[in-house]
Symmetry: C2
Subunit: 227 residues, 2 copies
């Protein structure tokens, strides 16, 4: 790839060596990052590996229906940050008592601090007209995009980067902001960047919003409800 970034230099230093991180370690270390971004630039080599991992995700009918818009422009990120702040207030106003107090302490985005937004889109026209495996499940293409996002997230974790999925936005706003055509659906804004650390405990657990459930509570044998 010739130019993932118009500005960052190619990296030849040791920090650009391909990391050897165990899959289960990456799964365990991965966090949804908001407060830990340092703003240090991500090298093209690293970003290319992370995006290549996303692009090698499975997809229905091998349609590869994703797009990745790398938003570095500060003006675009400021516009998005302000929109997210307004949506945060809308959600906050729906809460009361302990929920409102707990939410008030939680940071929901690192749009400016991360330095890079990766906007992920879903293009249902990719791989058509007959997408193998999508005739009965219209959302199968949307599912594929999410598989790519998780590959990106784990690869970024292996590279020592943080990723924060921001979902306090309206799809129409984000579609207009990054210039997606009408048929491309925005699926995610991912803040991606260098971090001071990846905390051991998820933010929402640290701040008392939710606790992780035991695995046994979501596993069932043969049927969920008996016949």
């Amino acid at each position: 790839m010739s130019s993932l970034s118009p500005t960052a230099s190619r990296c030849g230093g040791p920090s650009c060596a391909v990391p050897d991180v165990d899959l289960y370690d990456a799964v365990r270390r991965r966090r949804d990052t908001r407060a830990e971004f340092t703003g240090s630039p991500v090298s093209d080599d690293v970003l290319e590996r992370v995006l290549a991992a996303a692009h090698s995700a499975p997809s229905v009918g091998m349609s590869q229906p994703w797009d990745f818009v790398l938003v570095r422009d500060a003006g675009l990120r400021e516009e998005f940050r302000d929109h997210v702040a307004a949506e945060r207030e809308i959600f906050a106003s729906s809460l009361a008592g302990e929920r409102a107090d707990t939410f008030a302490r939680i940071k929901v985005e690192g749009i400016m601090e991360s330095g890079l937004g990766v906007v992920v889109g879903y293009d249902p026209s990719r791989g058509g007209p007959a997408v193998l495996g999508r005739h009965a499940i219209a959302d199968a293409g949307l599912y594929s995009v999410c598989l790519a996002i998780q590959n990106l997230w784990l690869a970024a974790t292996a590279e020592g980067l943080g990723v924060g999925w921001v979902s306090f936005y309206r799809e129409e706003f984000l579609r207009d902001l990054v210039g997606f055509p009408a048929h491309v659906r925005p699926v995610a804004w991912l803040c991606v960047g260098a971090v001071a650390e990846l905390p051991d405990v998820p933010d929402l657990e640290r701040f008392g919003w939710r606790h992780r459930s035991p695995l046994a509570s979501v596993v069932h044998q043969d049927r969920y409800l008996p016949r």
Copy 2:
């Protein structure tokens, strides 16, 4: 977890050691498996690690809105296989010429051969009533379920297992088959099992259905279309 399987014995042998597989290797080796299942049983230890990886995926508002139904019952799998065969015919009848000939050579499921179906469901009532990050994006919970599926897929790959996502089905049929209540949406039937190999090249590419696109074709700078 006390009993992931009602029948399989706990594994104490070397094949049950936790694998040390590089994240990027797992991403690269992962295939959508249909023909390579051997039918050999998967030990409880391995299956628990794979499901635990899924369960530690990120989720909107830490809602963890997924369910996993482990379908070993041969009767249930036969019912699903027959339904999938009918849906395959519906898709085949929409094709003509080269597309029809190419599709005729492609196997779309390994439901019986794999020995295990993992049906993944989405329960939007989880983590409510106010799910942090979902007020503006109703599908954010559905996205979370897909992130869990990709964690499962990569962990299974690291364990040397194959995973095949079957999407030739109607959601209502699968909901009834595994007894999901009306509010739980079936998202995937995953064939999971031991495999003879994981081919280097995806089936759909080997059989001439599609070819993988270059990364550069899906990466954009700042905006998709200019302002």
